[in-house]
């Protein structure tokens, strides 16, 4: 039993984010704006499983009115305060974390505004001793998540939002007893 436990523990190391940011960008012919979130929590295993959790209200805009509209009208953050992603590395196949930089493609389910949808993201994962740095980007369509852009704002807000993420992760510490 002890040897089975040892093998099980050694096969999957979990890394947790110590410093992570998500930035989304909306760009139309008339306006471009972005918002940054410094509070995502990210977990990742050496076998390529990934999970993000993002408090929606932690996205910070420069303009107060945009912040209010984003939270209250578009994301309805008091009903859906978090956006989540659960997935895994699909390219390269049979991913295994190793020293150096690896280009990856990740696929999984994103849950936002009460809607779940499969998405893919490309990026890089870099391991340097005990630290892992991951970065990447992907596009989401607001309409896929039942986020309606009012007709008045069609020229200011794009239905296609580009999301950039970057995170530093360290091996998860054992629970204190």
């Amino acid at each position: 039993m002890a040897s089975i436990f040892f093998v099980g523990a050694a096969s999957s190391q979990v890394y947790k984010s110590t410093d992570a940011h998500i930035r989304f960008v909306s760009k139309t012919d008339f306006e471009e704006f972005e918002a940054v979130n410094h509070q995502p929590t990210i977990a990742f295993t050496n076998k390529g499983k990934v999970q993000f959790r993002v408090p929606v209200n932690s996205f910070e805009f420069e303009k107060k009115l945009m912040q209010t509209h984003f939270q209250e009208n578009y994301m309805e953050s008091s009903k859906y305060p978090n956006a989540d992603f659960k997935g895994s590395v699909i390219e390269p196949e049979n991913f295994n974390l190793k020293e150096g930089v690896q280009k990856v493609k990740v696929s999984g389910i994103m849950k936002m505004h009460g809607v779940e949808k499969e998405i893919s993201a490309t990026g890089t994962i870099q391991k340097n001793k005990n630290e892992v740095v991951m970065s990447g980007n992907f596009d989401v369509l607001l309409s896929d998540y039942k986020i309606a852009i009012p007709k008045n704002n069609i020229n200011q807000i794009s239905n296609t939002i580009t999301i950039h993420f970057e995170a530093k992760l360290e091996p998860k510490k054992a629970k204190k007893k």
């Binding site: 979990v14 410093d19 940011h21 410094h38 509070q39 929590t41 977990a43 990742f44 295993t45 499983k49 990934v50 999970q51 959790r53 408090p55 929606v56 209200n57 932690s58 910070e60 805009f61 420069e62 303009k63 107060k64 009115l65 912040q67 939270q71 953050s77 008091s78 009903k79 305060p81 978090n82 989540d84 659960k86 629970k175």
Partner: protein
């Protein structure tokens, strides 16, 4: 007629200036003013676990909360600083309180294990969906924090 036209013009100008003022008004960096709630982190977390999601969220999300706790870690940064606090519950809970860099002077003297009182905007609590989730902790997020002395 000319007078009416002038009055209409002035009213339109005032409306336009007011509109521009609200459009360009920057987002607040701290959640100042009176707190909507003052309670312990443990009480907030326990209520978040026990209460129906939508009731809890509509009561607390985006409200200003004042709370106290012991610092488990502190990070001071030019883009956003953060304090994490210990929580005395049965569950594993991470409390993240984010500060705008304008608050860095107040954070300089804070060390791990210090007791602090913070006033912040509450962004939500995230409970694991599944016991096998990689993110197995309860995560409580605050931003626009300031230290209350």
């Amino acid at each position: 007629m000319k007078k009416v036209g002038l009055i209409v013009l002035i009213l339109v100008a005032i409306a336009g200036i007011t509109g521009l003022f609200f459009w360009f008004q920057p987002t607040a960096k701290i959640a100042d003013g009176n707190a909507d709630f003052t309670l312990s982190i443990e009480d907030l977390v326990n209520e978040g676990i026990e209460t129906n999601d939508s009731l809890f969220n509509s009561k607390y999300v985006d409200k200003v909360i004042q709370f106290s706790g012991d610092v488990s870690s502190i990070k001071i940064d030019d883009s956003q600083s953060e304090i994490k606090l210990d929580v005395n519950t049965d569950e594993t809970v991470i409390v993240r309180a984010a500060f705008d860099p304008s608050q860095n002077n107040d954070l300089q003297n804070i060390k791990e294990r210090d007791s602090v009182t913070c006033q912040c905007k509450f962004n939500g609590i995230s409970l694991p969906d599944d016991p096998d989730d990689l993110l197995s902790e309860i995560i409580v997020s605050f931003s626009r924090c300031s230290i209350k002395k």
